[in-house]
Each structure stands twice: as structure tokens, then as C-alpha cells.
């Protein structure tokens, strides 16, 4: 493999650039690589081996990482921030951060958890910034910052979901992420704790708080109150 390849940025002498990363991940699996570079890694490569390859900045490793964990990262980010037009940028940023921080991954076998953690960390930072940005913009305009258009076609569902997102947007970022992963994704509490880097007790506390805040507001909304859980169902996260 030539050092002048499109993936040459993985060599230590040059810091990866934006175009490099885009070029690395825009190839589809099995496609011939640009500039005569062939793919080095089989898709069956274990996570440990892939992590080692990433740490060694071996050509093709970033591409395989994106192929393997792109949908996973996308799912986590969408669950966390909703249908936001910034999702593609967030995915891209999450991978950039993953690759830059790969040296800090201690156990190579935990690559998936590392990718998920970085994705949620990226989503969390975005949620916090979005909140303060909206607050900042509201200084200049009395109108609400418009929500991104939903892709759903049904007006009934669209309105219900818009109101659901509106209430989710009022929750603190940490609580929102834990709540969304639990309720929308159905993720296990232990997995949420692992991905968000907090204890199981903290996850339970966050979900309970988010649940209380969410339904307190949703019960006042005529469109959402019919979805409110029964009191006895409110107790367990």
C-alpha cells in the first residue's frame, strides 16, 4: 500500500483532515478503493483486531469501522436527539471523535461500547448546545425556533410526535438520553449505564426524573394525555 493513497492520513506523519475522513468512509463495502488502494480487512475481522488496526492507523480500518458501526451510531444518535437535520453531521462528528480518541481505548474488545459512548457523548453535547442556542436565539425573536419537518405523512401521528419531541426537548440532556434509550429503544438499563458511563442507580434516577417531568407536561396536553401511563406503571423505570 502506497503512502500516497487516499487513506494515507492514517500514517502518523500527517494529521487526518476532513476530506480524508469523508473519502475513507464514502466507499461502499467491496468497492475498489480510490487510487488503486485495495481494501485490507475482511468484514469478518473481530472488534479486537479492528481496534488494533485503528490504533495502528492501518489503511482501510476507518472504512470498516464505519461499515460496521454506522447504523448503530445512527440509531443511537437518532434516539437521543430525534429527527434532527443535524443527524448526518453528528454521525460524522462521532466517527471523527472515535478515530481521534481510539488511542484511549484500553480494551480492544469493547470497541462497540466505545463507539456507542462517543456517539451519545456527541449527541449530549449537541443537545446542550442546541438548548442554549435556542435560548440565545429567543433573545432576538419571540417566535419559537422551528422544529425540523417530520418525515411522517399522517397528520395525526405527526402532530402527536411533534408534541412529544417538544416535551422531550425541555428535558435536561442526560435525562432525555437515558429516557429515550429506555422508552423508545427499549435498551436494558445496564447497557444504558455502560454507554453513558454512569452507574445503574444514576441511570434509574435519570429515567425516573425524566419520566416524571415528561408525563407531568404531557398530561396537560390534550393530544398526549390519552397516552399517559397508569399510575402504577409510573413506578418502575
Amino acid at each position: 500500500v502506497s503512502r500516497s493513497s487516499a487513506f494515507g492520513y492514517w500514517y502518523p506523519e500527517r494529521r487526518p483532515g476532513k476530506a480524508d475522513l469523508t473519502a475513507a468512509i464514502e466507499r461502499k463495502p467491496g468497492d475498489p478503493a480510490r487510487r488503486s488502494v485495495v481494501r485490507l480487512f475482511p468484514s469478518t475481522m473481530t472488534d479486537s483486531a479492528l481496534a488494533q488496526a485503528l490504533k495502528a492507523r492501518e489503511p482501510g480500518s476507518a472504512e470498516l469501522l464505519f461499515d460496521r458501526y454506522g447504523p448503530y451510531t445512527e440509531r443511537l444518535i437518532v434516539r437521543a436527539v430525534g429527527l434532527d437535520p443535524e443527524v448526518p453531521d453528528l454521525i460524522h462528528e462521532a466517527f471523527t471523535r472515535t478515530l481521534e480518541g481510539i488511542g484511549r481505548l484500553r480494551k480492544s474488545s469493547t470497541l462497540k461500547g466505545w463507539v456507542g459512548s462517543v456517539a451519545l457523548f456527541t449527541a449530549r453535547a449537541y443537545l446542550r448546545n442546541r438548548r442554549s442556542r435556542r435560548r440565545w436565539l429567543s433573545l432576538f425573536s419571540s417566535e419559537e425556533v422551528p422544529e425540523p419537518a417530520a418525515v411522517v405523512a399522517s397528520p395525526e401521528v405527526s402532530r402527536t410526535l411533534a408534541r412529544t419531541y417538544a416535551i422531550l426537548d425541555t428535558l435536561p440532556a442526560d435525562e432525555r438520553i437515558a429516557f429515550a434509550l429506555r422508552m423508545v429503544d427499549g435498551m436494558e438499563l445496564t447497557e444504558i449505564a455502560q454507554l453513558t458511563g454512569v452507574s445503574l442507580a444514576t441511570v434509574k434516577r435519570r429515567i425516573a426524573r425524566a419520566r416524571g417531568l415528561f408525563w407531568e407536561r404531557a398530561r396537560r396536553d390534550p393530544m398526549l394525555q390519552e397516552h399517559a401511563p397508569r399510575e402504577k406503571d409510573m413506578e418502575e423505570p
Binding site: 494529521r15 487526518p16 483532515g17 476532513k18 475522513l21 469523508t22 468512509i25 464514502e26 464505519f66 454506522g70 447504523p71 445512527e74 440509531r75 437518532v78 434516539r79 430525534g82 429527527l83 443527524v87 448526518p88 453531521d89 454521525i91 460524522h92 462528528e93 466517527f95 471523527t96 471523535r97 481521534e100 433573545l139 432576538f140 419571540s142 417530520a150 418525515v151 411522517v152 405523512a153 399522517s154 397528520p155 395525526e156 401521528v157 402527536t160 410526535l161 408534541r163 412529544t164 422508552m183 423508545v184 429503544d185 427499549g186 408525563w215 396536553d221 390534550p222 393530544m223 398526549l224 390519552e226 397516552h227 399517559a228 401511563p229 397508569r230 406503571d233
Partner: protein
């Protein structure tokens, strides 16, 4: 099925559908990163040193400016345009016209009325009713302060609901308090007069009379007809019947309450009249708007899409009967009934708990709308409604059909449960 589960399942399905349709991953590949990661701290330090005081200064100035100017209430004229201070607002001759404020306060102008908003601030506004009648619903806040100038009178308001009119020909001022209290002052009143809930005030400058009348009910007269001035003509017709009014003499009162009235004929509202209220989630007010103009008349003459929206407003406001009327009226005005059958199914399912009727409505929707975008929801609801109605054979048939068409749908787990039995 826990009702909240359906919400989360729907959210998950829509997110997954969006992930497929929006092709976020493809977008990520083509994304132009923000540069936040690659912009190292060495490059940003000096920017930060400059930016922090600049941002702080802008924030201080903006906060100050906002406290002085930007927090002033905005308002929307009946034509949907952003209101301008001092501009003449003429109510439509067709029906009540809403003037909405950004804090949620609402003035419904009766046909032919004229109003101006002369000033606004963070705590309220000053409006002038030049002519005609208005029904006001002012949102109460601790700092609220509103003034309504009506002819030579001023009505000071903190937060309340009331109807007010001014007949410039007869020089008669009328006020009907429905909630809260107001303070009325003006040329023909010796001293400011508080008016409390359930009372009406009528002042005639020509006749030098002042009457404070106490209504029997909260809103309604003895015949159940709301004595809102919106039920009377804007050009000075008498308000609705006062048969249910007890005359409470005041210092300068004389005579009895007026006894005659002439209700205006109900008129159809312009298309989309309640759209902004529904969009803002103010369903009860949207419904009131239609009711004041004659709900039955709206059902007869409004367009199908408007009626669906009116039905939604009534359903969310918790008035199932009106919702049903609006949806039924919409059925004959839309191709295949539009989504009216689905909405009627929701009404029967969620509000009336009549699951048999709900199932039939959902199936009617499936039959009427072969390409409808609510088919998946309708199919799932029909199955669940049959199950709850005890029609297990039909529930099983609906479940099999659901699984055939939507094996990964939100209701697929329930469908499998129905098919396989408990």
C-alpha cells in the same frame, strides 16, 4: 397494551422509517464536518479571548434591549398577518374574527366591529374597541395589565374573560363578566366601578343610567343560551335575553335590564378561520369560535378539510359530540371521506370506549382509503378494537391481515399475541 407503549412504539417506528428515508448515513458520508474536532485549542485560544468579552457585551445589551422592547407582546390580526400598533382592525362581516396575542390572550371581534391595538408591553396591551363588540379572554399572570378602551370607558384587566360592546349611536356601554373581575371607569361613571364574575354592567351615557345586573348562572341564561354579545348585532342591537337577570340596583341605576335582543343569523366562517388556534393547541377556543358563529351552520357549509380540523379541535377539547358532528359532516365533503372514518374510530375508541363501533370505523377507513397514509394505524387499531370488543374471530382475522401487511409494525407484537392466543 399500556397507552404510553403505543406512543413510544410509534416514535420508534417513525424514527426508523426516517432513518431509511432520510439516509442519514449517506448524508454523514457527504457531510462537511463542522470542524469542531479538528479545530485545536491552539487555534481557538486567541479567538476565545476576543470572543468572550464581545459575546458578553452583546448578551448584556441584548438582554437590556429585550427587557425594554423585545418582550412586548406580539399580536396577530384576524387576517393572519402580524399586527401593527395603531392599525385599524376591521372584523369580517362574515363571522367572529380572532385577534390573538403572543401570551395566549384572545379577542374575538363580532362582525362589523372595529378595534385598534394602541400599545403593547411585556405585561399586556392597550386596545381600543372603536365600535361593535368583542369577547375577550385575557391570560392571567401576576404582572398582567391590560386596558380596553371602549368609547369613553376604560376597562382595566388583570386576567379574565368578558364580553364588551360599545354602541356609539345610542352611547350604551355593556360588559358581561364571565371570569375574574375588572375595573371600569369612564366619562359617564362617577367613580371607577369594579365588576365581578357573573355580573353585567350596562351604562347609558345618553340616559345617564347605570345598571349592574347579576346573572343567575356562570355563563348561561335560563334557557341555556349564552348571553354573549357576540350573539347580538355589532351595530348596536340589544344583547341576548335578560330574562334570567336579577336586577341589582346601584346608586344611579334605574329601570330594568333590557329584555329584547336580536340574535344574528349564524354565518359560515372564512376557510381556515380556526386553523391558527388549532395549530397553537388552543382547541377549546377554536371550538368556541365555531360555536359562536353557529356550530351546525359550520358543519353544513364549511369545507371538508376545515371540518376535519374542527373535529380534531373538538376531540382534543374533550367534546365528543361536536367532534362527531364535524367528522360526520366532513365525510360527505371529502373524496372517500378523507380521514374522517379514522377520526371517528379514534373518537369511539379513546373517548367513548365503544370498541365495536371503533372497529367498524377503522375498517371503513381501510375500505374507503386504499392509499391512505393512516392504513397501518387503522389496521392495528381495528384489530385492537375487535379484541377489546370481544370479537375474537374478527380480531384474529384482523391480526393475520396486519401481520401479512406490516410484519414489523408497531402493533405486530399484539397481533402475534392475538393470533397465538394468551
Amino acid at each position: 397494551v399500556n397507552p404510553s407503549d403505543r406512543l413510544w412504539e410509534t416514535l420508534r417506528d417513525e424514527q426508523d422509517r426516517a432513518r431509511e428515508q432520510a439516509r442519514y448515513l449517506a448524508g454523514a458520508k457527504a457531510a462537511n464536518p463542522t470542524g469542531r474536532v479538528e479545530a485545536g485549542p491552539r487555534r481557538t485560544v486567541w479567538w476565545g479571548l476576543v470572543a468572550i468579552p464581545v459575546v458578553a457585551a452583546v448578551a448584556v445589551v441584548t438582554t437590556f434591549w429585550r427587557s425594554r422592547v423585545a418582550e412586548s407582546l406580539a399580536f396577530t390580526a384576524p387576517d393572519g398577518q402580524t399586527g401593527r400598533i395603531g392599525a385599524w382592525i376591521a372584523a369580517s362581516p362574515e363571522g367572529p374574527s380572532p385577534l390573538t396575542f403572543s401570551d395566549g390572550s384572545l379577542f374575538l371581534l363580532s362582525p362589523g366591529s372595529r378595534m385598534r391595538v394602541t400599545s403593547t408591553d411585556a405585561d399586556g396591551a392597550r386596545v381600543v374597541l372603536e365600535r361593535g363588540q368583542a369577547s375577550a379572554s385575557v391570560v392571567h399572570r401576576t404582572t398582567s395589565h391590560w386596558v380596553v378602551d371602549v368609547g369613553p370607558f376604560q376597562v382595566a384587566v388583570v386576567g379574565t374573560r368578558f364580553d364588551v360592546s360599545w354602541d356609539s349611536n345610542e352611547e350604551v356601554f355593556r360588559l358581561n363578566l364571565r371570569e375574574g373581575s375588572v375595573l371600569v371607569s369612564g366619562a359617564c361613571i362617577v367613580e371607577p366601578r369594579p365588576v365581578a364574575r357573573g355580573h353585567r354592567l350596562r351604562v347609558s351615557c345618553k340616559g345617564a343610567s347605570e345598571e349592574l345586573l347579576e346573572t343567575r348562572g356562570e355563563d348561561d341564561g335560563p334557557d341555556g343560551v349564552r348571553p354573549s354579545p357576540l350573539a347580538a348585532d355589532a351595530t348596536g342591537a340589544r344583547p341576548a335575553t335578560d330574562d334570567g337577570v336579577v336586577n341589582v340596583p346601584t346608586g344611579s341605576s334605574r329601570g330594568h335590564a333590557e329584555a329584547s335582543s336580536r340574535a344574528i343569523a349564524p354565518k359560515v366562517l372564512p376557510s381556515g378561520a380556526w386553523h391558527s388556534l388549532v395549530a397553537a393547541g388552543r382547541y377549546r377556543e377554536a371550538l368556541e369560535l365555531a360555536e359562536r358563529a353557529g356550530f351546525d351552520e359550520q358543519c353544513r357549509r364549511a369545507g371538508g378539510a376545515d371540518l376535519l380540523e374542527l373535529g380534531d379541535a373538538a376531540r382534543y377539547a374533550g367534546t365528543a359530540k361536536e367532534a362527531q358532528l364535524a367528522y360526520l359532516a366532513a365525510r360527505s365533503k371529502l373524496p372517500g371521506g378523507g380521514r374522517s372514518a379514522y377520526a371517528l374510530g379514534l373518537l369511539a375508541f379513546d373517548r367513548e370506549r365503544d370498541f365495536g363501533a371503533a372497529a367498524r370505523w377503522f375498517e371503513a377507513y381501510l375500505a374507503e382509503q386504499p392509499d391512505g397514509n393512516l392504513r397501518q394505524e387503522a389496521a392495528g387499531r381495528a384489530m385492537e378494537a375487535w379484541q377489546r370488543a370481544g370479537g375474537l374471530d374478527r380480531a384474529r382475522g384482523a391480526a393475520l391481515e396486519y401481520l401479512r401487511q406490516y410484519p414489523n409494525g408497531a402493533q405486530a407484537p399484539l397481533a402475534r399475541q392475538v393470533v397465538n392466543g394468551p
